[in-house]
Amino acid sequence: MSALLDIKDLKLGFNTLAGYVDVLKGINVSIKPGEKVALVGESGSGKSVTARIILGLLQEHRDALVSGDVQFNGQNINTLSPKDRASLRGKDISMIFQDPTSSLNPVFTIKKQFLEVLSRGDEKLSRKSRVDRATQLLGTVSITDPKRVLNSYPFQLSGGMNQRVMIAMALANHPKLLLADEPGTALDVSVQAQTLSLMRDLVTQNNTAVLFISHNLGVVREFADRIYVIYKGNIVEDGPTHCIFNNAQHPYTRALLAAVPRITGTGLPDVPEVSDEFLAPYVGHMQVS
């Protein structure tokens, strides 16, 4: 099966007051239709900018220099016109952010925001059918009183509720690719666990491909089919989830795995925050497909 998203030798740099900063140093990532892929790394490793390049946002940034290939569904996002890129966003590619409450607009009701998302998918849809569709979609994310939620402002709902609204909105127009940037990190663990399993079920039903961005390997274990580990702008290791968890080879991946505190109480590991070993060459696991 050919890839839905195929990133080849992607480089990114910023011109800043302090000079040129190298952020991505030539990364390769590919995602098949319906595949759930995680991109894991620490803050500053380049994971969020990768998502913003896929959305076509950084290509339009004055001080950002993007090079390489970002093939999405047969077109190169890097060379598309700004207008064509904009038409992908919210339809073929959508995104869920870390803090659901601050990523929804506080001055509009959920209804107003949801209807806008739906008319982006189909301009001809009548208001009534959009309201019906929004109500039905909120049902799919286990919201039992969609009417109340639609008439609420984001600050009147809990973080978990807003997160589910975000998921429903992001999947409303049947995107081919969903970008999830640290979804639910701002939420309680139990709420995060519920919303992640909900999201996993929905994307599986809709055959939506997902790029799941996180700094915590533990969070992606039950979600992802495949994992890319990114460190300082380079992919250092990638492979199927079970390979990464059972047979990690790269020193950085091993450190990331060791550093996660265990509920079995095995103590706090003595791993360094930074080490020259983390700069070891890339390790790829055999693709079983």
């Binding site: 620490e42 803050s43 973080g159 309680d188 663990v189 139990s190 709420v191 995060q192 666990a193 519920q194 700094h215 915590n216 390997l217 533990g218 969070v219 274990r221 039950e222 968890f245 450190a255 990331l256 795995l257 060791a258 550093a259 996660v260 505190p261 265990r262 509920i263 079995t264 109480g265 095995t266 103590g267 706090l268 590991p269 003595d270 791993v271 360094p272 925050e273």
Partner: protein
């Protein structure tokens, strides 16, 4: 000997929609040198409890004893100095306009500790004790990494020579590798200085590895309180089990523990 104990501590907030019981009749104690963790979801009352212990909020009912004496609603400098706080987000809890050294020194000036001429060297010593170079005192918080900033927050609290540290989600804003280092540092400091910790967090995996005892809070009440080992291997409350089983796990031993707890539901 217990360093802190609370007796039927409660806090109500009056809102237009009626009275909200944020904390209800919480009685607990922390022994000298102990780390007691308070876990619960947002809204369970853990931060309200911490604010009462710190004297930021006055309890609606109940009493707080520290080092054997009843803490009054208006505390003396000596009493305030003895209980210090490390907050969740070091970027917003350090003054961006002040050098980190000046932030660390503020407590020394406030509580009039030692000779004025000696205070900068106390600051430098505090920075070294958390593994930072003493020259760092001239830097602004914005030039430091998240882990360095959180070490500054810890140094700031320790410079006041407290007996009890209240740690409110001290590592939840940090990367996992940085979190592991900061938690190790906190463990070492507690042993070296015979400090006591009130450790507030929603991360049970962290609790398992740092706390001696755990209090599980739900809707302002303690639903379970016990030794860490016992809470994780044989939790009594269904709520505790559900919290533990929501923790993302990395290895097969953890998975086995989670499945064992889930089968008891």
């Amino acid at each position: 000997m217990s360093i802190l104990s609370t007796d039927l501590l409660s806090k109500n907030f009056d809102t237009p929609a009626g009275s909200v019981h944020a904390v209800r009749n919480i009685s607990l104690d922390i022994q000298q040198g102990e780390c007691l963790a308070i876990v619960g979801e947002s809204g369970s009352g853990k931060t309200t409890l911490a604010n009462m212990v710190l004297g930021i909020l006055a309890p609606s009912a109940g009493e707080i004893y520290f080092d054997g004496e009843l803490l009054p609603s208006k505390r003396s400098k000596v009493q305030r100095k003895a209980i210090q706080l490390v907050q969740q987000n070091p970027l917003s809890s350090l003054n961006p306009k002040r050098s980190v050294g000046a932030s660390v020194r503020l407590g020394l000036d406030t509580y009039n500790m030692g000779a004025r001429s000696n205070r900068w060297s106390v600051v430098e010593h505090a920075l070294e004790s958390v593994g930072l170079p003493s020259e760092m005192r001239h830097r602004a918080p914005s030039t430091l990494s998240g882990g360095q900033r959180q070490r500054i927050s810890i140094a700031r609290a320790l410079a006041c020579e407290p007996k009890l540290l209240v740690l409110d989600e001290p590592t939840s804003a940090l990367d996992v590798l940085v979190q592991a280092r900061v938690l190790r540092l906190l463990n070492e400091l507690r042993k070296e200085r015979a400090l006591s910790y009130l450790f507030i967090t929603h991360d049970l995996a962290v609790v398992r590895n740092v706390a001696d005892r755990v209090a599980v809070c739900q809707a302002g009440e303690i639903v379970e309180l016990g030794d860490t080992e016992q809470i994780f291997t044989a939790p009594e409350a269904a709520y505790t089990r559900s919290l533990i089983s929501a923790v993302p796990v990395v290895d097969n031993d953890e998975m086995a523990l989670r499945n064992k707890l889930a089968s008891r539901e």
